[in-house]
Amino acid sequence: MPGGYAGKLLDVDLSKGKVKDITFDAETLEAYFGGRGLATKILWDRLGKRWAEIDALSSENLFLALTGPMTAIYPGARIMCSGKSPLSNGVVGSTASTEFASEIKMAGYDGVIVSGKAPEPSYILVTEDSSEIRSAKGIWGKTGEETIIALNREVTAELTKRKPAIGLWKEPGIIYSGPAGDSMVKNAAVMTKLVHACGYGGYGAVMGSKNLKAIVAKGRGKLPAVSAPEATKLLWKRTHEILISQTRMRRWGTGYAGYATGYETSSEPVRNWQEEWHDEKGIGGPHFETRYWVKKKWADFNCTTNCMKVSCIKSGRFKGDITDMPDYELEAYCGTNLGIFDAEGAVHISAVIDNLGHSGINGPNTMAFAAELYQRGILVEKDFGFKPVWGDAEAMEKLAWLIAKREKVGDTLAEGTYRAAIKIAKMKGKKPEELLKYAVHVKGVEIGAHGTRSDADYTHDASYAASVQGGDHTSTITDGYSEMSGAVFTDSAVFCNFCFFSVPQPLVFDYAKAVTGFPITQDSWRKVTGPRIVTLQKVLLLLGGPDKTWEPIKDDDNPPRYYEPLPNGPYKGKFTDKAKVDDKVQKYFETLGWDTRGIPTKETLKRLSLTDCEPAMKKLREG
């Protein structure tokens, strides 16, 4: 077994109530590495033949929670959740920082593959001695806080019963779905540690569709051995030294950007992307730091970057709200994009969103979409039962609950922004295009809070348009932050992006080589392994179905809103140029060896040893 891998995965069939261990050979692991890569491979092998017919929320879909070879060995341990996405109908790799990743590796597993559907609400307990499916009847539909407290109590009691002698147990690692996931809100997140989420892709809904409330892991073993221990030790030390010197990240996390991204680069969503500029200083790092951060340094297992801070509101109307930071994405999506410009309101909405298990980006995106429809008189007060006006944090809280409980118009909004737009258009007797121009998404996946119109942020014209992850802001296709190297690598080796950018890339690849023993280099990743994973993701995305199959090239586009000029700020009048987007999309396809419509060519599939995809792609190329 190559270094870094625990060596086996837990295969759980919820329909039959059976668990078994499965292994992968070294060649597959070298070709797909782990995390997002391995997940795509597993999904292609098991569901690829019938991909277009499988509904993402049916029992046939798989739910995967995988680690990679570098998880918990490289700083910033993460877990990667995947499956067939109910939003894009392709594969989205979605990660979150959590101790679940290190616990499951110490329990001797690289991840969990869940298939089937449990007859009643259940959770899976993974330990090094035995793994079992247990009833979660009491916690089904409960909020994040209640779920964590109940599971912690139950699992600690069970573990103490099994091994009474060993002393106090440290709490186990848990990934769970909130009320939003349980009622299958299509963009719900897989939550962990109360405030962290695998947000993109809607895998909370996939968990909900399987009657799976949580996966709990507790390991007391060692982390897997690495291939070259001495070299790893040296590289670990070097990496830590570099990460410790990142003082901005350590002091403010991404929380500093709430003001800067809006004011300076003009790429922060305001009122459902109608504007991208604001000059409210209150929604930025220093203000949060002095007013709300009760714990200024908080990190996950083995992380030196330490970008997390804990917020708590101790007085006033939102007393008792607890959330992580909120980070830049949540400052934008739970703040400015809902018209909320006070820090307290942003903390409150973030706390509500986290507790309900909405994805902090995708959930509020749909909320803002609904609020804009209300602003334009398309949806009225009767649809909601209250008035969702911009900037009203209490009304927005009600809206979040409405979607999570699937009540009134919330039932439609729970389909995600794209599908909700089409359904509401039908409901109100309008053409879909009339509403889709307010929906900010790419291939069903709502876009992260970095606009492309001002061209001053790290995201540019085609960043989202051609990405196989849809609107994922951590995996865009801009150079340097490239689809072929950075994000695919961190999602497949499964560690945190923020432990990656400041470290020189050759050093990270040396690290990967020392851990796994594979002859991996930056070049081989850029030319072979990365493109292989992305191409396989693209194949599955093109196959799509059953409710929506994205058309080649036509759907490789930004949402209409990005082509409207910015109404204010230093970049007033700027918009994303369609001709430039088309040009960059073509160049991107060319780099990856796809044809002009974005369909992988026969030669590319052969070069990347994906020849079993050829029949399906041939049909697409001809059709």
């Binding site: 002393g167 714990k295 708590c312 008792g320």
Partner: protein
């Protein structure tokens, strides 16, 4: 951990009366004369967990590797944890000498109690709900 951020280091504070040492049926525990740390003789330890129950703070545990009692031995007076904490710039841990500092008496409390206080300190009234 029902609240984020309330993680507490789980360390031996070297009680004056050493209940763990007194509870050991096979004399596997002893007190280091220089550092006052509790030293575990792994050869003698029979993994009976009596020291864990005797400890007012539930501090010792059976090590997953060899299943023997594990108690902080202060790294012979030069603790590695303090070194890395200083190196990383947190300065959360400081080394104090017995008899010269009041901190030891102030902070030697069971970790669960510390966690409860910390939760209240961070989150106010809501923190009282901590387990």
């Amino acid at each position: 951990m029902p609240f984020p951020g309330v993680e507490v280091p789980h360390l031996c504070t070297q009680c004056k009366d050493y209940p763990c040492v007194a509870s050991c049926p096979v004399d596997a525990l002893s007190v280091d004369k220089v550092t006052t740390a509790v030293i575990v003789d792994k050869e003698k330890c029979i993994s009976c967990s009596k020291c864990i129950r005797a400890c007012p703070g539930n501090v010792p545990f059976l090590h997953p590797g060899d299943n023997k009692a594990t108690i902080c031995n202060l790294c012979n007076g030069d603790p590695e944890c303090v070194k890395v904490c200083t190196e990383a710039g947190y300065n959360a841990l400081t080394l104090t000498q017995e008899g010269t500092n009041v901190n030891k008496r102030l902070f030697s409390r069971p970790p669960i109690e510390v966690a409860k206080d910390l939760a209240v300190f961070f989150f106010g009234e809501k923190g009282k709900e901590v387990i």
